[in-house]
Symmetry: C2
Subunit: 201 residues, 2 copies
């Protein structure tokens, strides 16, 4: 979560290998007690008078969140957004590897997008079965999301990262993470509107 981002960023810079819960709390603008509680929840103990060892904390978080394990995923829909995700190099840090990309458009099949060869949808099911894929990224622009989700679930996919503006329904054991931007949009629109109402405050 946010701890990991902060610690792995700041940890590289400064030589001191320990950090106090108060320092973390100040940087992330939360309560020091919260930090200690969260850490102890994942079986992480600090050292009295010194604080926490940065490396130790990072490793514990990696283990708790599963970043140390390799997760293989497929990406469906190689449009603008799909290409952006394929090109993003930050996933590997969290153990996520996109091992194949698929697209409905037969004209795109065989072409390379961000160094990844686009595969035909026909090979989707066999591929997932063969490699035991458990995560799929949905970046299809059209509203075939639900049908696709059903197909994915039927071959054993356990989590769907949904970047489409569609709400999809799946069995309870499957996780769907929606990455809609409409929520962020509403926050921004609200701020801009409110700004107009009271420009000075």
């Amino acid at each position: 979560m946010r701890y990991y981002r902060f610690l792995s960023e700041s940890g590289a810079k400064k030589p001191p290998q320990t950090i106090t819960s108060a320092q973390i709390a100040a940087a992330l603008d939360i309560d020091p007690t919260q930090v200690r509680k969260d850490f102890s929840a994942i079986g992480l103990l600090g050292i009295g008078r010194v604080g926490f060892e940065v490396c130790e904390v990072c490793r514990a978080i990696r283990v708790a969140l599963g970043f140390d394990q390799r997760h293989e995923a497929v990406l469906i829909g190689t449009g603008h957004l799909g290409a952006a995700l394929l090109a993003y190099s930050g996933f590997a840090r969290y153990g996520l590897h996109i091992v194949a990309a698929f697209d409905m458009d037969q004209r795109l099949v065989g072409s390379k997008v961000a160094g990844c060869t686009v595969k035909s949808m026909r090979s989707l099911k066999p591929f997932i079965r063969k490699h035991g894929i458990r995560l799929a990224l949905l970046t299809t622009p059209v509203e075939a999301s639900q049908k696709l989700a059903d197909r994915l679930v039927s071959v054993g996919v356990k989590a769907i990262w949904n970047f489409t503006p569609t709400r999809i329904t799946v069995p309870p054991e499957v996780l769907v993470r929606d990455e809609h931007i409409s929520l962020g949009l509403s926050v921004i629109a609200y701020h801009l509107t409110h700004e107009v109402d009271s420009p000075s405050s």
Copy 2:
């Protein structure tokens, strides 16, 4: 927020122009009281025995969140993600209009991305001043985010929609909305890892 998405979607289909708080609550899996409370918070009153008028609710939400106003924005960084956002047609529904795109890369300047001509960074400040732009979308892959943010703030930008994996700091009156995917990633990684630990539960 979520109400608007649900109501504007379902409202188009069914003829009945009214909906009850219980129906909304069931669809969104929240408490009916919560719905009524949220609605009354934006000065929205229902009708006894009937419920709420769908159109009326939608309009009130639009007004409260500022979707009825026109918000003009600039986009900086026309990479994959920038292109995807430019091509996304859903923004207009919320009153957001991306009126110009900028990029550092001089070779891209003048070319068209998703129907929008890429402008030089040199013209960024004058453009913002001239058009009174108050929102900027940051999709620059490199770590020039902070410098860019400073420049944007200095010419009067009031909100920054940050799609870069960098944390940027701005004066308190400026809103920064981070659209990191690392949070979603951690949720997914956790689910997949936990799945392994107990496949049957």
